[in-house]
């Protein structure tokens, strides 16, 4: 996934390039699209995602704002009220928190508050997650907050093509989209034709990244490459793992996820955010509600620990890695199918079934 060979017309591109290209194309296509944020203009953003936009479209279309996230979010609300399509950049995950009130109390509800009169076609770009050696407050996985807020869409790409397609879809959406960019995949590369970007089927569709029969890994964003690698490694252990990339936490693509779990009968949800109260709980609960009788084992979760994000030198211990994913797969009660189990013996394995 990170070094796919270039086919005809395809060039290797990074996710950062695809995101930049998506912004550029959206701005070129629609004069209502305005980019706002800290350092997004002259500098092109600390991750260079907005590089060149101020030059191409002028400083009024790509604005270096004062340093105030609530102000950025709040003025963007006003701009959207007047018919613009603001794309705001929060410089890092934890620096979106000052804008939380504007996001929750206004962005997510404005359409509903006004009986549809004031839609909020606002995109909130948030570089998120760790694995980049960032000092504290630079590596949060904050998706649980957004996913629990009705009225928001929550989207996160894991591939170069999705980065382009989903960001275009987010900007085109008439509803607010929290667009979570996995920082540590910014420089991941894939063959991608910038002139004919892949069609991505809009917001709200999960995709099966790898077909398999033994169990399903359900994941998104920065954990997708980990799961793909785990699936490859699992072959040696005799497991043929299916990998589902959610791409969108809200709306949640129950169809695709449940279809996969019904096929395989076993599932592990993998994400980097802390487990308790994280999106994995929702996914596991929902899948279990829908697919209970297809499950050979409880849906397990492999997540970040329930701790504040660690300092750079320790983050490797926190981030779900291939081994931890495989350990969870190993705990999926392979010894027996449920039809063969009796209550007594099954119960004995309960307390081990979910060590985390």
């Amino acid at each position: 996934m990170t070094t796919a060979p270039a086919g005809p017309g395809l060039k290797p591109a990074t996710m950062a390039e695809a995101l930049r290209r998506a912004l550029r194309d959206a701005m070129a296509d629609d004069p209502a699209v305005h980019v706002l944020g800290e350092d997004v203009g002259t500098l092109g953003g600390v991750f260079r995602i907005t590089d060149g936009l101020a030059k191409e479209f002028g400083e009024d279309r790509c604005v270096d704002t004062p340093l105030a996230e609530a102000g950025i979010m709040g003025t963007a609300v006003g701009m959207a009220m007047y018919g613009l399509r603001p794309v705001v950049e929060m410089q890092f995950d934890a620096f979106a928190y000052p804008a939380f009130e504007q996001l929750v109390s206004h962005v997510s509800r404005m359409r509903n508050r006004t009986r549809g009169a004031l839609p909020m076609p606002l995109t909130v770009r948030v570089p998120y997650g760790g694995g980049i050696g960032g000092v504290e407050h630079h590596s949060d996985s904050s998706e649980a907050y957004y996913a629990a807020t009705p009225g928001l869409h929550v989207v996160t790409p894991a591939t170069v093509a999705d980065a382009y397609g989903l960001l275009r879809a987010a900007i085109a959406s008439d509803d607010p989209v929290v667009f979570l960019e996995p920082k540590r995949l910014y420089w991941s590369k894939a063959a991608w034709d910038p002139e004919r970007p892949d069609e991505v089927p809009g917001i709200g569709r999960a995709v099966v990244r790898r077909r398999g029969t033994s169990a399903t890994l359900i994941t998104y964003g920065p954990a997708l490459p980990v799961c793909m690698e785990a699936a490859e490694a699992a072959v040696d252990e005799g497991w043929d793992l299916e990998v589902v990339d959610l791409r969108s936490l809200v709306p949640f693509d129950e169809e695709t996820v449940c279809a996969s779990v019904r096929r395989t009968g076993r599932a592990v949800v993998v994400h980097e955010a802390p487990g308790f109260g994280g999106p994995g709980g929702e996914v596991a609960a929902r899948v279990t509600e829908r697919c209970f009788h297809h499950l050979e084992a409880p849906v397990l979760r492999v997540t970040g620990f329930d701790i504040p994000y660690p300092p750079p030198m320790l983050e490797k211990h926190h981030l779900p890695g291939v081994d931890r994913v495989l350990d969870a797969v190993a705990r999926l009660q392979w010894e027996s199918d449920w039809t063969e189990r009796t209550p007594g013996t099954a119960a004995a394995t309960d307390d081990e079934s979910g060590a985390r």
């Binding site: 003025t75 006003g78 009220m81 504007q102 359409r111 509903n112 009169a117 009225g151 008439d174």
Partner: protein, 389 residues
Amino acid sequence: MTVLEQPGPYRPAPPPAWQPRTDPAPLLPDAEPLRLLGTPAAAGLDPALLLELHGQLVRGRRYNAQATALTRQGRLAVYPSSTGQEACQVAAGLVLQQQDWLFPSYRDTLAAVVRGLDPVQALTLLRGDWHTGYDPAEHRVAPLCTPLATQLPHAVGLAHAARLKGDDVVALALVGDGGTSEGDFHEALNFAAVWRAPVVFLVQNNGFAISVPLAKQTAAPSLAHKAVGYGMPGRLVDGNDAAAVHHVLTDALRCARSGGGPTLVEAVTYRLDAHTNADDATRYRGDAEVEAWRAHDPVTLLERELTGRGLLTEDVIRAARDAAERMAADLRERMNQDPVLDPMELFAHVYAEQTAQLRAQAAQLRAELTAAGELPGAPEGGPQEGRQR
């Protein structure tokens, strides 16, 4: 190498990029709030304007009384009255041009009504049948804002967007003295000044944030003094002097409209009623203070001026009173009708397109309502889905 080794005479260098900034004096408010009524300056005021202000003040006072009465009758969930602040409300509602936008807080329904909104629509939030009872874009009145000061950046963004589009639009944003302490106040004013956005901020300093008096809210010489920290002019005005508020706002709007950027206006006024009908103001302030302010009532001030100029004829009084009573009667009557509600609307505006999850939830509620015979077209006493064990 140290300068020891550098030859030549010693001369202190000025910091190269330091440019002495502008003189702050023009930004500072006057020491005393501007007053027109009862002063020599009032002589220059247009009688037609004074009479319009008077009619609106009388109507506004009546509106506040009627809305408060409706809370007692259970027709409003809550009412934050602007009794005593009608001069600010009326001026704010009158000064705007058609294309301009008003950004009110929860206390500013009167300003919206003066601007032309149907009172029943303005009161929808407080009656409780929906959050915003009108189409903000149609009336150019933003939703009544409950989270304090959060409407201010909206006003800035909207005004800025309009200017980028080349439209002649000014935004007038209302906030209370308490609201000035919020971070959003600060960020909004700063963005407005940096962007030179066509927006005017009107602080109605009514002395209290619920129970908290101004002295616990700020140590500043005045709230208008905050302007200088953003590089915009601050103006102080007697908030009970309708002519003065109208004058100061008109000036500020003109400045904004012509590219001069934002202004912060502090109108010193007083909330004569409790915070809302649910509040007990005797817990935090004495009658004497309230009575003293009653003597400086905005209606009284204007009527004195009109009297002095021989404009307050019996006809004028009667016309104002009658118009106010008609408005009140109409409001009473229409608010006494139960609004027709569709519970299914709960799912209608969450997203442009309903998600599968919301469709399922809507179906669940519809089924429940149908079973209970509460949906139009639902089978009354029809077959209820029994629970099965």
